[in-house]
């Protein structure tokens, strides 16, 4: 098992170096110059432009800038934002818990609903439930998130008044950040009603963010189950007179879970993409909105280091998924 883990870790090294090049190059390939954007309609004299570029280090050859970035990175320095002038790492750590909290609730929601729906649809293949749920999944998969979020806000918050429109907690509640996770901090604060308010604020954004992963997970579970249900060992289990619950729960589901777990792992990337829009609509102070703002302002340090941190996390999650296979299926770890 240790060799298996080390092997996987070794793969990460070239991937990580590749990501530093892409993260560094991406924002510089985009047309646009942060110094010009700072000046706006007013314009900037060539002298002042040169002065500011030198101050920010943009006058150096691109490869010097890259190795400088890499050198600082290995010392744990991700640079300062050009806009807020604050360390990128500080900003990331402030905002990241909000994204994780939203993402975790969303993926939990997607899994807890998606897997049972997929299993049920597979068992009752061709039934009304199967057709309705799979059509709904297709609709969910094709849902434009921005429109969907706004629609939910207008209906549930605007017309029915059931849910708050946006934000992480009611403005009445104010307590300092401890963990950055609002559900935990609101409990720790001891303020009456704070936890309920935080939970209530999570409902709409997590539904919106969960929609696409939910659809993918449900469809993937269904097709994996169908495949497994046709296998010999399932037929044997049935022939032995086992109950349907036992056949499905013990023999089929466990084997069908491998591709489903891969899918759930891959959804982390989808979640990050969805978080950008979801966070913008729901005024959710996470890293998705932070990245978007930084890209439009050509805030080089934030974009390159932010991308690196996000890519690093996605890599980590995928590593964990790989390791989970090893646990579920011994054949993979001994290969």
């Amino acid at each position: 098992m240790i060799r298996f883990i080390l092997g996987k870790l070794l793969y990460l090294v070239p991937t990580f170096i590749g990501i530093t090049i892409i993260a560094f190059g991406f924002v510089r390939i985009l047309p646009g110059d942060p110094v010009l954007l700072m000046a706006g309609e007013r314009g900037i004299t060539p002298e002042r432009h040169a002065e500011l570029s030198a101050l920010l280090g943009f006058d150096r050859p691109i490869w010097v800038q890259y190795f400088d970035f890499l050198g600082r990175l290995f010392q744990g320095d991700l640079g300062n934002s050009l806009v807020t002038k604050k360390p990128v790492m500080t900003e990331f750590l402030t905002l990241f818990p909000a994204t994780v909290e939203l993402g975790l609730v969303a993926i939990l929601l997607a899994t807890l609903i998606g897997v049972p729906v997929g299993v049920l649809a597979a068992i009752k293949r061709g039934s009304v439930f199967d057709q309705v749920s799979m059509t709904a999944a297709l609709v969910g998969f094709s849902m434009p998130i921005f429109w969907w979020g706004l629609l939910l806000i207008i209906f549930f918050s605007g017309m029915l008044g059931w849910t708050p429109v946006s934000g992480r907690i009611g403005l009445l509640y104010y307590f300092p950040d401890v963990t950055g996770f609002m559900l935990i901090d609101s409990l720790l604060s001891g303020q009456k009603g704070a936890f309920a308010s935080a939970l209530w604020h999570l409902i709409l954004p997590s539904i919106v963010l969960a929609t696409i992963p939910l659809a993918v997970i449900a469809r993937q579970t269904r097709s994996a189950m169908l495949e497994v249900m046709g296998e010999d060992y399932v037929r044997t289990a049935r022939a032995k007179g086992m109950s349907q619950t036992r056949v499905v729960g013990v023999h089929a589901l466990r084997n069908a879970m491998i591709p489903v777990i891969t899918t759930i792992g891959l959804q982390i990337g989808v979640l990050m993409a969805g978080a950008i829009l979801t966070e913008t609509i729901f005024s959710w102070p996470g890293i998705g909105k932070w990245m978007i703002d930084s890209i439009s302002r050509r805030d080089y340090p934030v974009v390159q280091s932010g991308l690196l941190l996000i890519a690093g996390l996605v890599m980590l999650v995928n590593l964990l998924v790989d390791l989970t296979y090893g646990l579920i299926n011994p054949r993979i770890r001994h290969k």
Binding site: R42, N80, L82, G170, L171, P176, D177, S197, R298
Partner: protein, 534 residues
Amino acid sequence: MTSMTRILLAASALALTSAMPALAKTFVYCSEASPEGFDPAPYTAGSTFDASAHPVYNRLVEFKKGTTEIEPGLAESWEVSADGLEYTFKLRQGVKWHSNEKFTATRDFNADDVIFSFMRQASADHPWNQYIAGITYEYYNAMEMPSLISEIVKVDDYTVTFKLSRPEAPFLANIAMPFASITSAEYASVLEAAGTKEDLNNMPIGTGPFTFVAYQKDAVIRYAKNADYWGTAPLIDELVFAITPDAAVRLQKLKAGECHLMPFPAPADLEAIKADPNLKVEEQAGLNVGYLAYNTTMPPFDNANVRKALNMAMNKEAIIEAVFQGAGQVAKNPIPPTMWSYNDAIVDDAYDPEAAKAMLEAEGVTDLSMKVWAMPVQRPYMPNARRTAELIQEDFAKVGVTVEIVSYEWGEYLDKSMEAGRDGAVILGWTGDNGDPDNFLSVLLSCASAQPGGANRAFWCNEEFSALVSEAKQTDDVAERTRLYEEAQVIFKDQAPWATLDHSTQYVPMSTKVSGFVMSPLGDFTFATVDIAE
């Protein structure tokens, strides 16, 4: 009622009671963007100033609420020397600084604070110039303060003299701008001793109507009423900014009672907002102009008659209707009608395609092809440049001019549109910084600003016009300045370096419970005078 519905109703009741704080009088503003920081000096965004300069700080002189007139701020009075080169300010006494967990002031505001606030921006050697590595003072530079202020002298604790290198009539308006906010020198020394200089930008200490309480990045900013405020203390106890970048979501929050007032509604929502009995909308002409700048150095656009003919071919009413949905007005001058010295006697070129065509033919211009540049971003003065360009394209086609629409990424657009020999006419605009006509006419149309690094995108250099604008800058006499600017506008209209397109209207939707909000012609959102009915 099903149990699910019961749970939902109970929970929504809880959520609603939590949406509106009940104890103190709390005013919630759904702001459109996060502040870049809380030190107004290094930043340029209006949303940053709304969160820092206006609630927390004061300036020596201030804009009188709802106007661009100057009134005393931290300076009680001032005198200008006869040659216009010395401004001596008498400072207000007994003005208390805010306090926070790290700082309690031992003295009131005085001349040292004024000198500190300016010198940290003026001098690269000042210990606070680079208190955050890479920080720059863009407004201080853009308003030409480095070449203008030659010395700041402390006469006594409550008297300061600014010595200028040349007479500059807009000087008072310039130092009423957010970048000239007065920060505490004593707070700076406390932070320096503690080794946390950057807190000047994170935990601001000012003299303004509200004290800063806390900022949760990208989410909420909290302020409390400054009970010791030297002016009229605010009527609300707490001020909260709920940062909400999407205009549709802001409106939903306003409707749901999650905030009291919002900026920048989507034009398409205005009808519905006006129809809502719980909301009201205040409106005011924006201090801005949208224009199409010809390249007056390139033939045939170097011919004023050609430019005038094209202006006559343009149906500007249709642009206001289609692009602004009526929320704007046709511009005839380069400065907005709310600005002093606006020359209302000027008659705009009438929309007349026939006459325009004849005029072009008379100038020997046939089969003209040109580019029209459409900016890629929305601005209050131009919500949809692409649509505007398309309308211009249709109008010009009627007089036999073929238009190709081009666009670039915003930074590139700003850069390329100022390149000498630029091909085509550029859609752009301007929002005033300080209400002074010089801030439009000199910045956008003088010979000096036609040079690289300027903002004269018509590359129009008319010596007579520039001389008038420059002369107006050197006298304090407002009547004389008005006369000079009015004359300059006549030359502008006659020479037509731009097609003046529009001045947009600014709308501010708010709850009917809100009173006392005063719209600022400069587009600031300030809440020192607001109140909310229980």
